[in-house]
């Protein structure tokens, strides 16, 4: 089973989303490095995303492309990155998701990935 772990955090809160180079930044990065080691080859994919002020939302209606500045939804916590984890079942996925540093600083949404045979 593949699970997408979507990492949400408040990007306006310096505790959850510290600036690179700040004191709070280093331990979080170290946490991600550690997670990468611990999860090892269970990580099928994973990326960190630039903040939502760089996002563009694209919709096509009646054949016409409209673009909007900003993320799909204005929420308190923002999608900041994701992993795709290869796990035996949801318990394993939850246990791993709980080790992602932002589980303690925001929210990890765990979603089973649909695999097309």
């Amino acid at each position: 089973m593949k699970y997408a772990c979507l990492i949400y955090a408040d990007e306006n809160n310096p505790e959850a989303s510290p600036e690179p180079g700040s004191a709070a930044f280093e331990p979080i990065m170290a946490g991600y490095f550690q997670f990468g080691n611990d999860a090892g080859d269970k990580i099928a994919a994973g990326e960190a995303l630039s903040p939502t002020n760089t996002a563009t939302s694209v919709r096509v209606r009646d054949g016409e492309i409209t673009t909007t500045d900003g993320p799909f939804a204005e929420t308190k916590e923002h999608l900041g990155g994701f992993y795709v984890l290869e796990c035996a079942d949801l318990d394993e996925a939850i246990a791993l998701a709980a080790k992602i540093p932002h589980a303690a600083l925001g929210t990890i949404e765990v979603r089973p990935v649909i695999e097309f045979d």
């Binding site: 089973m1 699970y3 035996a88 079942d89 949801l90 318990d91 939850i94 765990v110 089973p112």
Partner: protein, 390 residues
Amino acid sequence: MAEDAAQDAVEAAIKQWPLEGVPDRPGAWITTVARRRAIDNLRRQRVGRDKAAENARLLERLIKRDPHEAALTETALRDDQLRLIFGCCHPALSIEAQVALTLRCVCGLRTQEIARALLTTPATMGQRISRAKNKISTAAIPFVIPVDSELLQRTSAVRHIIYLIFNEAYLATSGEELSRADLAEEALRLGRLLTRLLPDDPELLGLLSLMCLSHARRRARTSAAGDLVLLADQDHSKWDDMLLVEGRTALESAMRLRPIGPFQLQAAIAELHTSGSQTGGTDWPQIIKLYDRLVDLQPSPVAKLNRIVAISMTLGPLSAIDELMPLAAELSQYQYFHSTLADFHRQLEQFSTAIPHYEQALSLTSLEPERRFLLGRISQCRRGDTGDSH
């Protein structure tokens, strides 16, 4: 071997249920399938493996219910039942789904029965169950006994679900009937099953004891006319002696185990109420001590309220009102806060102060027996009658 086979069966169940619907008695069904799978697996490995062939014959005999092999069956059954319960009460499912799935898959109730018991329509309940089953199979929620590091937390979640089912039976939020005994029976059955499966969990025994002691009084709790009867006025001959014995036995075992948790304390309080009512002398100081510990462990406003009621029995209603008032904001929507405050004022013969609090309590319940009871209190106050002492 038995473990693997049970796991296969549960996987088969998860794959099959969304397609074929849950069988009538899923627990038994899983065990049957598990045995059949175990035999199949053993047959496949038989070549050159005498031991495996022997095991296969052993399992075949089990199916024919050879009493000498009962122990092995019980172990397999125990694991199956635990897997099923932990799976149904998996925290990745909503509480409503956990309750519904437990009643469906562990208790074997039909969807219509669950809908009736939980005051909803069969269509809604069917949807809730099929959504839960869909999540179980899509997200691969495992039906396994949790690993040791998670066992305590997961067992606590299972207890919570059982208690919810039990409370649901007593706290019908509307309608004519005060209790739905059938749901309480299911909760009791679950409690008994779980204490057999996990005999060393102090709080499970506490929960079972609490449920037995409360349920033992069910027939005395309402009059023939369907009116509420308070504990002090209950006809003891209507209490269920068997359940009282079961409750007390469970409490004794629970109190020998550590740590002491909220269910054990509540069961101990229920026992003191019960025996006190039977002997005509309730040990209020001991009850207050237990409430102190309960409030320490679980500082809920409802526990605080119950503690204050116990205090009123030793220190009188005036001191109790002083203790109660700081909870006013927190409990403004809780009917028992208002009826308790009204009771204290009535006992002090402050009838014109009591009446509006009874009226407030009345506005917060739609349960007919409780409404009649409160209306009775109001007319009592209008007559200037303190009535009984409680």
